[in-house]
Amino acid sequence: MPPQLPLAEPGTPDTRGPLWYIWWLVRCQPWRVLRGALIGTAWMLGLSLRPYLVARAIDDGLRAADYRTLLWWVAAIVAAGTGLAYLGIMRHRTMTFVREDASARSATVLSRHLSGIGAVLPRRLAAGDVATVGGADITHTSAVLTMTGPGVGAVLAYVFVAFVLWSVAPLLAVLVLLGVPAVVLVVAPLLRRLERVESVYRHQQGVLTTRAADIVAGLRVLAGVGGRGLFARRYAARSQQLLAEGYRVGAVNSWIEALTIVVPGLFLAAVVWLAARMAAAGDITIGQMVAVYGYVAVLIVPVWFLLEGGYQLIRGRVAARRIVALLNLTPDEVGPASPVGGTQPQPAPDGPADLHDPDTGLTVPAGRLLAVAADDPNAAVALADRLGRYVGSEVTWGGVPLTSIALDEVRARILVADHDSYLFAGTLRETLTVRAGSSDADLRVALRTASAEDIVDAHPDGLAMPVGARARTLSGGQRQRVRLARALLAEPDVLILIDPTSAVDSHTEARIARRLHAARAGRTTVVLTSSPLLLGNADLVAHLCQGRVVAVGSHVELLQGDPGYRALVSRDGVSADVDGSRR
């Protein structure tokens, strides 16, 4: 029966190793796997039926010129064909269900795990790795489960044939029993070798494909400054390299194809030759000799299934190893500095509380809008990472060390909104909804604060407008305002904004600065910026110079009292040459 997908509860994967993981996928659906094994065996044994029936139709019908009997045997051939077709499709359906259940289970546990690891993931894994695991690796791992159906059937069919042969001639049975594994052992490494050669080729092919995609992605740049001819020639040169590699693969590939014909073919010839000599010597009858040929020829199908199964197992094990490695990445193991003073997390402050960063000497007053003007943009980002606990630090919150508070609590109440904050694909409504229960009215309020109403108003679908991954369809300024609106909608107790208006024009910037102050009234907000418009609308401004807070006061006070600050934030095109003082 078909599985119910997506699974309500995928269970807990066994991540002790790749084979354990594959075994877990089997254990989750024992009855379906058993059914697959039964049908697979029946189908495989049924394959030997047709040659038998044809032989009987010839012998009992045609040769004996008994047309009634011929009719019966022909009817049996058609019926057997139909029955075999039925078994075949049932086997295929059952095994498809087995593989799909396994794939959906892997995808579900991976999705759950990826959603829970958090900020550390990009540092541990390239996105390309996740794409491999989430695509090909899931499929390859599930393919191993094919062995449980036709694989079991193949082994049983092999044993059955050997059994029958034993009753004919023990010598032939021994030859077949030992010969078939020998053939498999000779051919299987060849397939692995082929896989290796092919993987080199496929890798190069992938590189070439990436180049083509790279050229396509950069077409606008090439249109702007030229250089198309150079790229065409460079691509052609790489294409010729791949061609040479392709010839190499072809050479190996074709020899392997030839060997997969020659080795089993010679084995079959040897068996027939031996049987013929035994028949000529009178040890077995002619009928038995023909049967021997038939049985061994029938073995070809299960042998190929076993070969393919072995190959799938090798490939699937590598794939499962990558899945297991990803599932074994844990947020705890790779989280920021472990809690200071024992393992027991301390409670976070109940209400609004000051944040204090000893590294810079900065104190973020609770319930106020603090702007920080830093001489070095990197120092500002580092400060945000400390205040948001993306790195270990000495930061305290209401006197409690931030690193000793449960991480989940910190994430729920302190939000760092950075430039590269990821925008997921979906409608704008989905992109903005980060809190359950946000109404469209809430979204529009936040969009207004971020001065981003125009994005929605200009689109016929309004809030239902589609937004691609990373919101590539929006302009840089639009993306920045959508990110700001989303951060506001999260309504954190402490909101830390990094340069939230760097890509918008000054009218918009002025509007955002005014509205932001009103929207965050009574809650703690930190804005890292050098824009005089934002600084002018802050309750308090801190000047961060060479990693330390050197002055705190209102924007106007600092402009008057702190020449360094004035030089840093002035947009007066004439006097603000700050190059020398900074580098």
Binding site: A213, G224, I261
Partner: protein, 586 residues
């Protein structure tokens, strides 16, 4: 949906025949070798029959040994012939695929940029990756299987016809059900498998984006949302897989059950023929055995039919790219690189007269622009977002032609200039930057192939690309695709360095420093200004110090130029620009 055409049947057929014609001799060799291999393969069962007959006739062991040796010989011959047939076929396929992909990339590079933008780069990217790869694997994996299976089937059915033409006709009577169900299946298979592929890709993308946005998922506590998203994608994959399984659930059993029909027909009709002495027992038996052997190649042929069809569809899409490419401009990539003539530094006069423009039948974005940019002038264009600044930049660069009116350089419409010539004189850098896979040198060299390392380093210094000092491998540092990733700001400086190297007469900078932090942007702009002194610079920027530094400022509002003059003049005039300037100061 897609702006890119798909080649129609005659074009596809011509292209396929063209690929064969170019390599005619190889194709003949491949077919001959495969034919010989198939004959050798069929000889084995025939020799086995001879052994049975020999034993029945009481032949001696010497005769049996001879026959067994002959079988061994046939097996070896079959293997060797297969080897060389496959190898020759493989080489032919590789050559054809290489020709195809190189032609595709060359045609892609020749596409006018406006065509690319109308179609969307996504569509083009799909064709360059998915379709080219699909055609490649079809030629390499599917075509050989089809050729071998077809050869074997032709020989087997041909043998039945040779044995007894009537039996041959009877054998064909078993095929109509296979033909019918295959047609039924192929009509439905393509959209179903395409949907399956799309659903699978969406699931992979869902997992990948969750990983890419992991910090955001943690920060905004989106875990539950992403899990729900993943579940939804898994559900869609399952639905699409069930759809294809349903198709196979009809196709496979009908085809498999049909394999028995030709055999049954030949046996029954053979009985009738025997009865009337119109055929011998040997002929009927041989025909039945040949048909039984035909099952395996027939099965393989049908299994791969769907793949072959998909390959053909991809082939049509690959050929479709470049079909509408204007033949007059397709010479860019042909032949050797054009020598860069030492054109005297003469920026030229860029004039816009009555230019109106609209995107794809939409309302006009520009309503009659008149603007004369003096040679060597620094002009800033400012205005609210959506005013048409970027559109104007594209018209000035000759990427789009105005719907009405004209943009001319020294009296010649810019869109009439030869593309290579145009790019040498006018360059456009937008905030959309792209770092190509390759070394830093590669990324600079294409703008100026003759530039020395020293010039490249100087260009990087000219745009304040301080990060260059941190690169251990200098110009040989690998960029992009898993190697060093440049941030948006660094990539923008790289784009500007290219511009310095290309050294065009007219530079159009559309928010070309928007990704830099304010101080660095300022520094970069000033350094750049020093390097390109004497050139015409047209800059669009929301940061007004760019306008402050310019010779003249044009204010663009709602597709019209409302103010034009120097910074001081406009501030004194107290209009829109003055308001913007004061607001910007905070």
């Amino acid at each position: 949906m897609s702006g890119l055409p798909v080649a129609d049947r005659p074009v596809v057929r011509r292209a396929a025949l063209g690929l064969i014609a170019v390599d005619r001799r190889a194709v003949v060799v491949v077919l001959l070798l495969h034919g010989a291999a198939a004959v050798a393969g069929l000889a084995t069962p025939w020799l086995l029959g001879r052994i049975v007959d020999a034993v029945a006739a009481g032949a001696g062991t010497a005769e049996l040994d001879r026959l067994a040796l002959a079988i061994g010989g046939c097996v070896l011959a079959h293997g060797l012939l297969t080897r060389y047939a496959q190898y020759a076929g493989h080489r032919f396929g590789e050559r054809a695929v290489a020709r195809l992909r190189e032609g595709f990339v060359a045609r892609t590079l020749d596409l006018p940029i406006s065509v690319v933008e109308r179609a969307g780069t996504g569509e083009l990217a799909t064709r360059s990756s998915v379709d080219v790869t699909t055609v490649g694997s079809t030629v390499r994996d599917v075509v050989p299987v089809m050729v071998i299976a077809s050869t074997q089937l032709t020989l087997l059915f041909g043998a039945v016809f040779l044995l007894h033409p009537l039996l041959g006709l009877v054998a064909l009577t078993g095929l109509p059900s296979i033909v019918a169900v295959t047609r039924w299946y192929l009509r439905r298979a393509r959209p179903a498998y395409l949907a399956e592929g799309a659903a699978t890709a969406e699931l992979t993308e869902a997992l990948t984006t969750t990983a890419e946005g992991a910090r955001t998922v943690e920060g905004l506590r989106l875990g539950a949302v992403r899990i729900a998203h993943g579940r939804q994608r898994i559900g869609r994959v399952w639905a699409s897989r069930r759809a294809t399984l349903a198709l196979r659930s009809v196709f496979f059993p009908v085809v498999e059950a049909s394999y028995a029909l030709p055999i049954a027909a030949v046996l029954l009709f053979g009985g009738v023929l025997l009865d009337r002495d119109m055929a011998t027992l040997g002929e009927v038996v041989a025909a039945a055995l040949y048909l039984q052997q035909a099952i395996e190649p027939l099965d393989r042929l049908l299994q791969w039919m769907e793949q072959a069809q998909r390959g053909l569809a991809s082939f049509a899409r690959v050929l479709g790219v470049g079909q509408q490419s204007d033949p007059a401009t397709t010479s860019v990539t042909a032949g050797a690189p054009r020598p860069r003539d030492p054109v005297p530094v003469r920026p030229g006069r860029l004039v816009v007269r009555g230019a109106r423009f609209s995107y794809a039948d939409g309302p006009d974005v520009l309503h009659g622009i008149d603007l004369a940019v003096r040679a060597g002038e620094r002009l800033a264009i400012v205005g609210p977002s959506g005013a048409g600044k970027s559109t104007l930049a594209r018209l000035l660069a000759g990427i789009d032609a105005p719907r009405e009116g004209v943009v001319s350089l020294d009296g010649r419409p810019v869109t009439d200039l030869d593309p290579a010539e145009r790019r040498r004189r006018i360059a456009l850098v937008t905030q959309e930057h792209h770092v190509f896979i390759g070394t830093l040198r590669d990324n600079l060299a294409f703008a100026a192939p003759d530039a020395s390392d020293e010039q490249m380093r100087a260009a990087l210094a000219a745009v304040s690309a301080d990060w260059y000092a941190d690169l251990a491998d200098g110009l040989d540092t690998q960029l992009g695709d898993g190697a060093r990733e440049l941030g948006a700001a660094d990539a923008q400086q790289l784009a500007l360095a290219r511009l310095v190297l290309a050294d065009p007469h007219i530079l159009i900078l559309d928010e070309a420093t928007a990704a830099l932090d304010p101080t660095t942007a300022r520094r970069t702009e000033r350094a750049l200004a020093a390097v390109v002194s004497g050139r015409t610079v047209i800059a669009i920027a929301h940061r007004l110090n760019t306008a402050h530094d310019a010779d003249r400022v044009a204010v663009l509002e709602d597709g019209r130029i409302t103010e034009l003059g120097s910074h001081d003049e406009l501030v004194r005039a107290g209009g829109a620009y003055a308001a913007l300037w004061h607001s910007w100061h905070g």
